[in-house]
Symmetry: C2
Subunit: 485 residues, 2 copies
């Protein structure tokens, strides 16, 4: 046997069991609000836990076997898929979503922290189910942190081994043994920040329930809201600034936040990715802010808050909305569209290409010009003053190229499925980048309910692809992955 | 002195002299058609030749000095620029174009074989000037062949050394001495094909003048037409098929055409770029053809001819039009848009990314997945059964990335200059790819006259950038190019 199927299934069983346990935490909200979704959620949770438990126990005896690299790929992709599969139960059993395609789209949009929704009236959904919807994103974000610092670097995906080199307690040669410790520290930050945001939003005037939901989906850079109008529902500048701050933090490399919390601000501000992240955000905000101000003649503060909110929301791939950017002047729309390809920091919960890859790309492009003049010289890219191994640079270039190739072919496929030019570009960019809102028919004030059936499945696939850094999923589609050695 | 400025200026003088001599060949047409542009063209030609001659003679004594690599970069870019500068004279002196910006746009669009035009009524322009307009493209195409087989490989640009390895008489280790011989052979093919097309179009019912103009601009994959409606003016299927055939040939690697003419069809059909070129063309034609047929219910032959013409015209970056593709269904428009990034074969007169780079990109992407599983193995990309050196693959990836980065930032810049979203995407893609027509306001039946002034200069820059394979121009913008060693 080539794969350790038993171990793989064992891990999946554990994940499903945990998934069911998380569902149970929605029960108090159904009880408190006395909604009709109490029984459906109980059944969903118990069913999921039961299946997970049986699977886990039935395959337990083999856990002493070592996992191989190939097993890792299978676990990651199948893990996300099985979570999304069982995650549909609360929607379906409660009748909040009346067909499997839509329920699956909504769930995988949650677990991949995308935030694209097919719900046309969110406020009509029962509070227990809505809590589950927000929770899928928070769980997804938690999963991403483990992936980013522990699993992907070991699998050698997209240069991720590079991005964790600075994680607290991690040195490249001692990556493995300290990983559990690191993951725990970062989760602690994740939970701590969620709690802090919850308190601030509550103080700012949100109900406890809404504050909790928004805190969960902010920290996951997910963007599901409990309101139809998204964050635009809350006109309080305080609330909007709090959400901006926490979106930005959620898009910051968690190891940088760790350093920041320990007062090592020098390390943070010397980090090249963080500098680019900060500068890009401010630059785009100023550009768009001026433009919006000139166009609408609002107060300066309002224009810049709207601009800052939308820029941070798109770059961090959160996808909350306080203004309909699709109605802004076309030069602003173009910037928003291009920003969809940025992604925030690696090692955060943000999706997309990630800024550090762009930094390597830009540096390498400039160096390539230098290499033209000195073809025999070996000129490596340097990040944070350290030379980046050529294999990693190569891998990052390949990653970005594949990302763009998938975007281009995906856009063609979406037009063949039957959406217009702009909607195709927007829906593919936003799904692959795990953002949420797109352009055209899936713009910031629209939703994905009108996308044809095939389109919903295709976009679901793109969300998974983007969330798992492309390679993890694509490698399963190659014949040599399955070939016996 | 670091650069051999005298030698550089000497070569530029020669180019300008030749440019003036070419202008003179338009005189017979002014005489024959008895148009008012006779005197302006004579003055343009004599002025250009005089300045070129004086420059050439004044700097002649130093020609014994060897040219260095850096001098090569300067000559290529300045050569194209100075040709475009003097090439504006016939337009300006004849009054066909009333301002310098438009005249420069039209001329550089010619010499870069782009084919984007600011003329709103082409048929109102005198025949002598129109002949000059077509000639700029043909001269540009001639220049590209020299660049592709002789200059760029020596400068190490964008993997071009790889694409000429199969050129007749060229072996990688003996590249330099045989290059003049090779360039001559390929020019012979260029001239021969132009003449053959001229005869066929004349037989097909075009006037000699129109046949000559279209033959000149087809072989250059330029796309300037003497008719306002472009090739749509000629409804004869024979004429359209002849143009399709010669566009396809102009987009074929000229060394493949050389082998083909010598009966070595095996070599041609074993060449991976040619196979991809042929298959891509047919595949897109069938996809679009079916779609257009279903949509408009025309004759099958008409639908497929329209589809084939537009596909070949875009892929080869010619830019002739027989149907307004912007009115076709959105799934077709998306394919046309993506096809703008293909480009035909390297070593042809076509612009854009070039198919061979896409082939390397696709192969490397698939191999990168394999490398994930076997990180220590060295797995090179293979082209035509030979391993491609990693430096070249690296260079090609960097090329494509820079191409896309310029496209993205260029689109943002165009919207800030003041065009809409779709026009920005279309105008940048078509200028950078040296195609001609774009999308939106610069669609296939429109022209570039309404683009704001700054936009015309920016697009002119993009045309030059795309035509000279990016690196040649970009390297001049880096500080270390000008730094003293």
């Amino acid at each position: 046997m080539k794969f350790n199927y038993k171990v793989i299934i064992n891990v999946l069983g554990l994940l499903i069991l945990l998934n069911g346990a998380f569902m149970m935490t929605c029960v108090p909200f159904s009880l408190y609000f006395e909604t009709d979704d109490l029984f459906p959620i109980l059944v969903s949770s118990l069913t999921t836990m039961f299946i997970g438990f049986v699977t886990f126990v039935a395959t337990r005896q083999n856990t002493s076997k070592e996992l191989k690299k190939k097993d890792g790929y299978l676990i990651v992709t199948l893990g996300w898929l099985s979570m999304s599969l069982f995650g549909t139960l609360p929607y379906i059993l409660s009748g909040s979503i009346d067909n499997f395609t839509d329920a699956f789209f909504e769930t995988i949009s949650g677990f991949t922290t995308t935030g694209a929704t097919i719900l046309t009236d969110i406020e009509a959904v029962d509070q227990g189910v809505l809590m589950w919807r927000s929770l899928t994103q928070w769980i997804g974000g938690m999963g991403i942190i483990v992936l980013a610092v522990a699993i992907l670097p070991l699998l050698g995906i997209g240069g991720m081994q590079l991005f964790v080199a600075e994680a607290p307690g991690i040195t490249p040669d001692k990556l493995k043994p300290r990983i559990t410790e690191t993951a725990k520290r970062l989760w602690f930050i994740y939970v701590g920040l969620t709690f802090t945001e919850l308190c601030l939003l509550w103080i700012g005037g949100m109900t406890f329930y809404d504050a909790l939901n928004h805190a969960l989906t902010t920290m996951a850079t997910g963007g599901f809201s409990t309101k139809n109008a998204s964050v635009a529902h809350y006109q309080s500048p305080f609330i909007q600034y709090v959400i901006i701050l926490f979106m930005f933090l959620a898009g910051t490399n968690f190891t940088m936040t760790y350093f920041g919390l320990h007062g090592k601000f020098k390390t943070v501000f010397r980090n090249e990715e963080f500098k680019f992240y900060l500068i890009t955000t401010l630059l785009l905000t100023i550009l768009i802010g001026f433009n919006v101000h000139l166009h609408y003649g609002e107060e300066w503060e309002t224009s810049f808050r709207d601009s800052l909110f939308q820029v941070v929301s798109i770059i961090t791939t959160t996808g909350y909305v306080t203004a309909d950017y699709s109605l802004w002047p076309s030069n602003t729309v173009m910037i928003i569209f291009v920003a969809m390809f940025l992604g925030a920091s690696a090692g955060s919960t943000a999706g997309g290409v990630k800024i550090v890859r762009h930094v390597i790309l830009i540096k390498n492009s400039i160096l390539e010009l230098k290499r033209q003049l000195h073809p025999s010289a070996i000129i490596p890219v340097r990040l944070n003053k350290k030379a980046v191994h050529r294999d990693i640079t190569f891998n990052i270039l390949a990653f970005i190229m594949i990302y763009i190739a998938i975007f281009a072919t995906g856009s063609v496929i979406m037009t063949w499925i039957g959406v217009d030019f702009l909607t195709a570009l927007g829906s593919v960019a936003t799904s692959l980048g795990n953002i949420g809102p797109g352009l055209g028919d899936v713009g910031p004030v629209d939703n994905f309910s009108q996308i044809p059936l095939a389109g919903k499945w295709f976009l679901s696939f793109l969300m998974l692809l983007g969330r798992l850094e492309l390679f993890t999923v694509l490698i399963l589609l190659t014949p040599y992955f399955w070939k016996k050695v």
